[in-house]
């Protein structure tokens, strides 16, 4: 089943006087099936975060369409966007973006509280989630009292608690050491197996290997994509690194 359709996205950043223009996205089109796990790769400055922000409705494209379950989300009014965001999307950021004012528990509740859910529902979901993520003993602590990996798992719990249709992650392993990264990626795979649709931007080949499909972006365009299919981990790894090399080589011309 088709979840998300992206058609001809363009994004042009222009400086205030309009003198400098940067084409961050250049007619990007692709679609995401329900239950897919997509990794987006590309060089720094290729437009990955821009793409993610547009899908997250934090930023608007210059032109193009983003259709979620048949509805064009770019047609939503400013006032509807935040409600849309918290009902349909979950976010995991590179630098966690947890609130130091809130305990781990309250950080996880945040989107549900903002959505006006009742406390009983939240508590139930939170208990189940934190157990699965292995942070059930940290609930009363504050973000500055736990490790980076634990913070990121908290952020994942926060992204999942609203049962979003799509989880968006921008370099979620970027600030983690390899062990925590590994742990987090396993977690993502597990969530994916449970039927969650995920779109993750990453620089790590290892991370991308967990995905069911890898999109490569260069200069704002989709350059290539690789399906995991039945490929083994080693084969996938090799394919991805080859593509990345050709991305770079291509960039040098």
């Amino acid at each position: 089943m088709l979840l998300l359709e992206i058609k001809n996205l363009d994004k042009i950043y222009s400086s205030r006087l309009g003198l400098n223009k940067v084409q961050a996205l250049d007619s990007i089109s692709f679609s995401i099936e329900q239950g897919e796990y997509i990794a987006v790769m590309g060089e720094s400055g290729s437009g990955k975060t821009t793409l993610l922000n547009i899908l997250a409705t934090i930023d608007r494209p210059t032109s193009g369409e983003v259709i979620l379950e048949g509805e064009n989300i770019l047609g939503l009014k400013q006032s509807q966007l935040s409600a849309f965001r918290r009902d349909n999307l979950g976010f995991v950021f590179q630098d966690f973006n947890l609130l130091d004012t809130l305990s781990i528990e309250d950080n996880i509740y945040l989107p549900m509280v903002l959505a006006g859910e009742s406390f009983g529902d939240m508590e139930e979901r939170m208990k189940a989630l934190t157990k699965r993520l292995g942070i059930e003993n940290l609930l009363k602590k504050y973000p500055y009292e736990v490790s980076g990996g634990q913070k990121q798992r908290t952020a994942v719990a926060r992204a999942l608690i609203t049962r979003p249709k799509l989880v968006l992650a921008d370099e979620p392993t970027g600030a983690l050491d390899s062990k925590s990264s590994e742990h987090l990626l396993e977690l993502f795979s597990e969530i994916h197996k449970g039927g969650q649709t995920i779109l993750m931007v990453t620089h790590s080949i290892k991370a991308a290997c967990h995905a069911s499909r890898v999109l490569f972006i260069r200069d704002g365009k989709i350059f290539n994509q690789i399906y995991r299919g039945v490929n083994s981990y080693e084969k996938m790894y090799k394919k991805i690194s080859e593509t990345l090399t050709s991305l770079q080589v291509g960039g040098e011309f």
Binding site: L81, A83, R85, D87, F91, L99, D100, T101, Y109
Partner: protein, 645 residues
């Protein structure tokens, strides 16, 4: 070598840049400093201007200006330290960056030294220049308010310069030392730390809160119950200290207990607006409660200063009217027989009496050798003397007295003088030439009217006073309106030539005296009021800035997670409103209690009209509520701007 030299050149540049780049926070700080210098300089100029004291009726001015100077000095110390700590906190990141880029702590210290010096010089220059330009007008304003002769020049005096320079030098050195200590204590990583840890929960919050309540009530108790005597200023001071300490404790503990309660109530806490507000305030509970307490204390000071000023302004005529039921009063030793010059005199009365200072216990009066025992002034006169004074006849018998007081009614059935007991036949409503006021608790005189001189002699004998009776004679004179001043001068001359002259008092000099005192107080009230208000506004402004910076990230994240713009706005409003009224509420309660004390203090200078004070209080409080709301709304714009940047 070259490098080192460069660095040295760089430091002043960095220092000045530091101030300029942060002008939105240094601006108000410097402005407040300059204004304080201006007021300080003006007050000292007035104090050291010896010419002022050549003016008649200027006796109060020096004392009042001195008091003003001391109060100003006392208030400025905590204010500068508090605002300074805020400034240094705001700049920690910048300083840390410098250390990481290779400036040692020594260099940072030099930089801070230069910075403080620059601020000091700017503040001094700004304040003194303003003083030089406006000082003359201030001086004229003071003379005008005090009803003093305007021909005196505002003199520039080296001493005033020196005083101001030295006082503020010490003040700013103090802040510098504090900054240096805090820089030396911190490591770069601490300076740089990106996340802010939550304030530690106040320990023993309940205990602390209870102590706060007890201390506050203690302060209130002192304020309500202390009598006007030699300890009044000690008591006043104690009450202030207690109330301040109590306020700080209660705000901190109270806020903590309240927020904890709110957090425990899950149905309440997990509502979008409450959630963010409650956790936000709880995170910075120390900072919040300190700034709220400061706002409360400064609000109280502003209200009370304004209240006293306004009461005095409207009460001045009451003071004069109460004291002067006549135009001239002359008092002589012994019984005087010669008659006064009658030119221009409309009417005069003569009263012969004896004054004693007696210890009073209810309706028992006795003589005490103890110099420090509190005593009441009791005035004895015979029925005949009373009637001679122009009052109606009384028909007293032996063992009977009539009483009167110019304060609150005595309500005695009988009166004990030593071992003698008298029946009180009548408490008189009035006596010619004496005004009665129920508010006059401290300057009151008790009049006891006995049947005849023999009764007086007997009574005095019983009290243990023998020998010749020490009579006094008092004339009170009403004059025709024309040539009043000249007549008073003539009477004054005449009085001074009489044997046994004790005192001469007239309504015109009394008015002038009262006006000079009240005018001096008004002048002080206005300027101290403005200084306090500026301090208050800056504290409020800094609170909004620092909270804005604290909350910005939180709102940014929440918007990403799905908080709409409108919700952000309403949450901010909620957050502001939650704590908005607390300082104002407490300041009002403090004021209501302080009014008790103010009424008593004003009674000392002869203002007994409580309605004036009460009405002024209501007016001032209402007025202040508007100022408070207005400045809160204005400064919260800064908060909005920072949060939503």
């Amino acid at each position: 070598m070259v490098k080192k030299k460069k660095k040295r050149h760089l430091l002043p540049v960095l220092a000045i840049n530091g101030i300029l780049k942060n002008n939105s926070i240094y601006g108000p700080y410097i402005f407040a400093g300059a204004f304080a210098v201006f007021v300080f300089f003006t007050l000292s100029s007035i104090i050291v201007n010896d010419l002022v004291y050549t003016l008649p009726y200027s006796g109060y001015i020096k004392v009042l200006m001195m008091i003003g100077l001391v109060v100003l000095g006392i208030i400025l110390v905590p204010f500068l330290l508090y605002t300074n700590s805020f400034l240094i906190k705001q700049r920690k990141k910048e300083l840390a960056l410098y250390t990481i880029l290779g400036l040692g702590k020594k260099h940072i210290s030099i930089m801070l030294l230069i910075e403080t010096l620059v601020i000091y010089l700017v503040v001094l220059f700004g304040g003194i220049t303003t003083g030089l330009v406006l000082g003359k007008f201030m001086f004229i304003l003071l003379l005008n308010l005090s009803g003093l002769d305007l021909h005196i020049q505002f003199e520039l005096n080296g001493k005033a310069f020196l005083n101001t320079m030295v006082f503020f030098l010490i003040l700013y050195l103090f802040t510098l030392i504090k900054n240096l200590v805090s820089v030396y204590r911190l490591t770069p990583s601490e300076l740089m730390r990106s996340h802010k840890e939550n304030d530690r929960e106040p320990r023993f919050a309940v205990l602390r809160g209870s102590i706060g309540v007890i201390v506050l009530c203690g302060g209130y108790w002192i304020a309500i119950n202390s009598k006007v005597d030699g300890f009044i200023f000690t008591n006043f001071f104690l009450a202030i200290i207690f109330v301040i300490i109590g306020t700080y404790c209660i705000f901190k503990a109270g806020l903590h207990v309240l927020l904890t309660k709110m957090r425990k109530n899950k149905r309440f806490y997990y509502k979008a607006q409450n959630f963010i507000t409650v956790s936000g305030i709880h995170q910075r509970i120390n900072k919040s409660s300190t700034s709220l307490s400061n706002m409360c204390i400064y609000s109280t000071m502003i209200i009370i200063t304004l209240l006293c000023t306004v009461s005095l302004f409207f009460g001045m005529t009451h003071i004069v009217n109460y004291r002067y039921a006549y135009d001239v009063e002359m008092i002589f030793e012994n019984q005087v027989t010669s008659s006064i010059p009658m030119e221009n005199v409309k009417q005069f009365n003569k009263m012969v009496y004896i004054d004693l200072s007696l210890v009073q216990e209810e309706n028992h009066f006795s003589v005490s050798e103890d110099e420090y025992a509190p005593k009441e002034k009791v005035r004895f006169l015979t029925q005949e003397q009373y009637e001679e004074f122009g009052n109606e006849s009384l028909n007293l018998e032996d063992g009977e007295v009539a009483v009167f007081t110019n304060g609150p009614d005595l309500n005695f059935k009988e009166i004990h003088l030593g071992d003698q007991t008298f029946t009180v036949t009548e408490e008189l409503e009035k006596i010619v030439g004496v005004n009665k006021s129920y508010g006059n608790v401290y300057l009151n005189v008790i009049y006891v009217i006995l049947k005849n001189e023999k009764m007086v002699e007997n009574t005095f004998h019983e009290l243990g006073i023998d020998g010749k009776l020490a009579y006094k004679t008092k004339y009170i004179v009403m004059l025709n309106e024309e040539n009043k001043v000249e007549t008073i001068e003539k009477l004054s001359l005449w009085t001074s030539q009489q044997p046994g002259m004790l005192s001469f008092d007239d309504v015109i000099s009394g008015e002038a005296d009262t006006k000079s005192m009240a005018g001096g107080l008004l002048f002080l009230g206005i300027f101290c009021g403005i200084v306090f208000l500026i301090c208050f506004l800056i504290i409020m402004y800094y609170k909004q800035i620092s909270e804005g910076h604290d909350d910005r990230y939180n709102f940014w994240v929440m918007q990403k997670v799905g908080l709409s713009d409108g919700e952000v706005k309403s949450t901010i409003r909620r957050q502001i409103m939650t704590v908005f009224f607390i300082p104002l509420l407490f300041a009002t309660i403090h004021t209501l209690v302080a009014i008790q004390m103010i009424v008593r203090l004003f009674a000392v200078i002869g203002l007994f009209e409580e309605s004036v004070i009460v009405l002024s209080s209501i007016g001032v409080i209402v007025f202040y509520i508007f100022i408070y709301m207005f400045s809160y709304l204005k400064t919260s714009k800064t908060y909005y701007r920072i949060v939503r940047m």
